[in-house]
């Protein structure tokens, strides 16, 4: 019985629909990955992808785009109920996986570029509402945000550079914009450092990915502050892996020692954009726990066959069926290699759990590929 979609299904639309502004076509494609018919979406007056997303939203289709840098962004449709569920579930998972509690009134520190999407907005709002001290929120506009419109412009430029139609001045203009963006990004690091130092006496909740968080720790240490200056009740919310960030081997220790963090107030989770359920990490067993409404189906590397699951751990390609999703199909095959165990964990929880050594197959396969066939992508410099 057909059950799972590969995660790439959500970027299977032809790029020309996006770059050629063929919104009716893109809407039709959205219908192939949505559980709701998309013919109620009116594309009249839609001029760019950001306004197309607004048009979808007006018709009850909440489309979240992933923030690939130059690749095609994935587009994940969701129903309103999905956003509500994700928001509530996100808060519960934090409390399951750490000592962070609703009403902690923490000073929120967030750092790193975040993709603007209905889902990130919904879960972000919920987390702020649950754990943050409203009086001490950062001024809006402090963090850089990535819109799908800006990603699309990058894709277009990459294409025109590849086929040789980009004029030198266009590339020069892009380089100037990139430099400005980089400066803005550097400035947000400075702002975040200032903010964290100013609030060092508060109970903090630091939300970032490992890479940016390491940057932040280094900068704070550079200014002469370390664990002794920070509260032992500081908490952190860590999402995602390293995403190829270049950090020293002991980056975790450096981060923990800088901000006086402890395992008790550290929340780590495994999740993916294509599903909506968080899999929080337990402290005792150090494993990611799969909630009852999330069915884990470990597949072979190719993603074609379900692996036999007896007692003991199974290593394979992660696939999940998220029963909580309404707006799109809940079954998805990921790009990750996981080790899942359906037996109970050392922490006492009987739920299936995933070992903390998740890797992307793409990273495992390495780069030792050499062949005489290839595409013009190899000839485009400076847009990675």
């Amino acid at each position: 019985m057909p059950l799972l979609l590969p995660h790439t299904a959500y970027k299977s639309y032809p790029e020309s629909f996006l770059t050629g502004k063929r919104w009716d076509r893109l809407t039709k494609w959205l219908g192939t990955v949505s559980t709701q018919p998309t013919d109620n979406i009116s594309v009249e007056g839609v001029e760019d992808v950001d306004s197309w997303i607004r048009a979808c939203e007006a018709a009850g289709h909440y489309v979240s785009c992933t923030s690939g840098t130059t690749g095609k962004p994935a587009m994940l449709p969701a129903a309103k109920a999905d956003l509500e569920f994700a928001a509530q579930e996100g808060v519960e998972a934090v409390q399951w996986g750490s000592g962070i509690r609703v009403g902690d009134d923490r000073t929120l520190i967030s750092f790193g570029a975040i993709a603007q999407s209905p889902r990130n907005a919904a879960t972000g709002m919920a987390l702020v509402g649950a754990f943050a001290d409203f009086a001490k929120l950062a001024a809006p506009g402090d963090g850089p945000s990535i819109t799908v419109g800006s990603i699309t412009r990058m894709i277009e430029l990459r294409k025109t550079i590849g086929d040789g139609t980009a004029r030198p001045e266009e590339i020069a203009e892009f380089e100037r914009e990139s430099a400005v963006r980089q400066e803005a990004l550097d400035a947000t690091l400075e702002k975040a450092v200032d903010r964290i130092i100013a609030h060092r006496g508060d109970k903090l909740l630091i939300m970032a990915m490992w890479g940016p968080l390491y940057q932040l720790a280094e900068a704070v240490r550079g200014r002469g502050y370390s664990a002794k200056d920070f509260s032992p009740e500081n908490a952190t919310f860590l999402g995602g892996g390293l995403k190829r960030a270049k950090v020293p081997e002991n980056y975790r220790e450096i981060i923990f020692e800088t901000f006086n963090l402890s395992p008790r107030f550290t929340y780590q989770m495994y999740g993916m954009q294509e599903t909506q359920t968080s899999m929080p990490r337990c402290n005792e067993g150090g494993r990611y726990h799969i909630p009852a409404w999330m069915v884990c189906l470990p597949l072979d590397k190719e993603g074609d066959n379900l692996l036999p699951c007896g007692p003991g751990p199974v290593v394979g390609r992660a696939a999940f069926f998220d029963l909580s999703i309404k707006g799109r199909w809940g079954g998805v095959i990921s790009g990750d290699r996981i080790e899942v165990d359906f037996g109970p964990c050392a922490c006492g929880s009987p739920s299936p759990s995933i070992r903390d050594d998740i890797t992307r197959y793409a990273d495992l396969d390495g780069d030792d590929k050499i062949a005489c066939s290839g595409t013009v992508d190899a000839y485009v410099r400076g847009l990675t």
């Binding site: 057909p2 059950l3 790439t8 032809p14 050629g20 086929d163 036999p308 050499i370 013009v376 190899a378």
Partner: protein, 478 residues
């Protein structure tokens, strides 16, 4: 677009990794010190420990082939060619067995490529390669005198270079071609083999060593493996003091990594990663016979070598209405799907590719898909090129109002352009060259290539050598 999930036993193979010995200047080096994994199919192979010192000879030592006449080198290569072409050659047979496990191509294709590579060693062909690459091949054997119009005398020599070759993993025959070309220019060589083929180059060299282990050709060749990009090897080895030129096939990180070592005295000769295309004029729709002819020729260019090579057509630009193109695609897909290599059941298509094509099938206003997603072949009609790289016998047929309108899709990555009808080549070639393409052929003839022709817009042998001038003053000093 949904997938079939079935329960299957985990595929565990406990067989020991295949041995991939090295060859260092005539000596076979065996050992299982390091276990590597092939890039594409994840098959393990074992190599001896890499001895970096063994790969480099001091520059004060003259190249072994320097004073061996070209004619003698060609004789030796020709004899090796005969040995390789024999029905049964112990080294080559073993190599085909090993390669069938690590290669993306079916066994018959591997066998064909390895065996047919021996044809490259035909003495007539080798001589022609040299004559096409050098206006005066004498410069390979000695110092050729030349006096300029002002009376200044010189002696010019195409001096043997020190080359390090980064071989591709998708073309098993390239090892033998590279060995032959290097021998023709009398180079001192290190061949870095690919993880998708750590076997064939050593098998060829062993065949040569069986003829005469002391022959200067054999003494000039080393073939080893290390994972592409391994800094502990490349930072040490990629230096002008050791090598003059790095000859790199293909693209990917293997080449990106190499770039940082290129500098004064250490040049890159790169055979870049390429895409090949077809152009079919409206003449193909003059009759059913013409259409069948064009589609059949087109299929030959798509399906050869399982569409793994750079010469394989991936996009066809066609002067046709969508309805005409659909009729064309039907025949094209049929022809592509014929199993000419005795592959039997092909590997299933990769999940991503399957998903992309399935989606296009759903978007039937703009696309039409012919054939099945079973790895045997597929043709996709569209009005813009698809944004994935067509692989595994996939042809994207793009409707254009005129072939000239397709020039915008020809770029610096375009290698071969197959044209139908053939007489339209002359009208197209200036523009194709200007856009960056490198070879125009009759549709259906992307595979065979004329002996000694330029490759990737250069005469490679001419670029390999260390052009040396000995100036000897004026004939008649004033």
């Amino acid at each position: 677009m949904n997938k079939q999930i079935s329960i299957a036993a985990a595929n565990s193979s406990d067989s020991p990794p295949d041995a991939a010995p090295f060859f260092i200047r005539g000596m076979l080096v065996e050992g299982a010190d390091d276990i590597h994994r092939s890039r594409d199919l994840g098959v393990s192979f074992a190599t001896p420990k890499l001895d970096l010192n063994a790969l480099v000879r001091p520059r004060t030592e003259l190249p072994p082939l320097l004073n061996v006449p070209l004619a003698e080198i060609i004789d030796f290569l020709a004899e090796a060619g005969e040995q390789l072409g024999r029905k049964s050659n112990v080294h080559v047979d073993a190599c085909i067995e090993h390669m069938a496990k690590v290669s993306l191509q079916p066994r018959t294709a591997v066998e064909y490529m390895v065996k047919s590579a021996a044809e490259y060693l035909d003495p007539k062909s080798l001589r022609e390669v040299v004559e096409q690459n050098f206006p005066n091949p004498e410069a390979l054997d000695g110092w050729v005198p030349h006096t300029d119009h002002q009376g200044r005398r010189s002696f010019i020599r195409a001096y043997p270079p020190r080359l390090i070759h980064v071989l591709p993993g998708n073309a098993p025959g390239q090892g033998i071609r590279s060995i032959a070309q290097s021998a023709l220019v009398k180079a001192v060589n290190v061949f870095k083999m690919a993880s998708a083929d750590p076997f064939s180059t050593v098998a060829f060299l062993r065949t040569m060593a069986d003829i005469d282990p002391e022959h200067p050709v054999v003494k000039s060749m080393s073939a080893v493996y290390w994972p592409g990009g391994a800094e502990q090897v490349e930072r040490v080895l990629y230096r002008p003091q050791y090598f003059d030129k790095l000859v790199a096939w293909g693209g990917g990180d293997a080449i990106t990594n190499v770039m940082k070592y290129i500098g004064p005295g250490f040049q890159l000769i790169s055979f870049d990663p390429k895409t090949s295309i077809s152009m079919v004029g409206k003449e193909a729709f003059a009759s059913d016979e013409a259409m069948a002819e064009a589609a059949t020729l087109n299929a030959a260019d798509v399906a050869m070598a399982n569409q793994e090579a750079c010469v394989c057509s991936r996009f066809t630009f066609i002067e046709a209405t969508p309805e005409q193109a659909d009729r064309y695609c039907q025949i094209l897909a049929q022809q592509i799907r014929i199993d000419r290599m005795g592959e039997g059941a092909p590997r299933p298509l990769e999940m991503d590719l399957r998903e992309q094509i399935e989606t296009l099938r759903l978007l039937d206003d703009d696309f039409a898909v012919f054939g099945e997603l079973d790895g045997r072949g597929i043709a996709i009609r569209s009005d813009e090129p698809v944004d994935f790289h067509p692989l595994r016998k996939t042809s994207n047929v793009v409707c254009v109002p005129s072939l000239e309108a397709a020039f915008k899709h020809v770029n610096v990555a375009t290698q071969t352009v197959g044209v139908y009808p053939f007489e339209r080549m002359t009208d197209l070639r200036d523009y194709l060259a200007s856009c960056g393409a490198q070879r125009v052929v009759r549709l259906g003839e992307a595979g065979p290539s004329a002996i000694g022709n330029p490759h990737d817009a250069m005469y490679p042998l001419h670029r390999f050598v260390h052009w040396m001038a000995n100036e000897d003053g004026c004939e008649d000093p004033r």
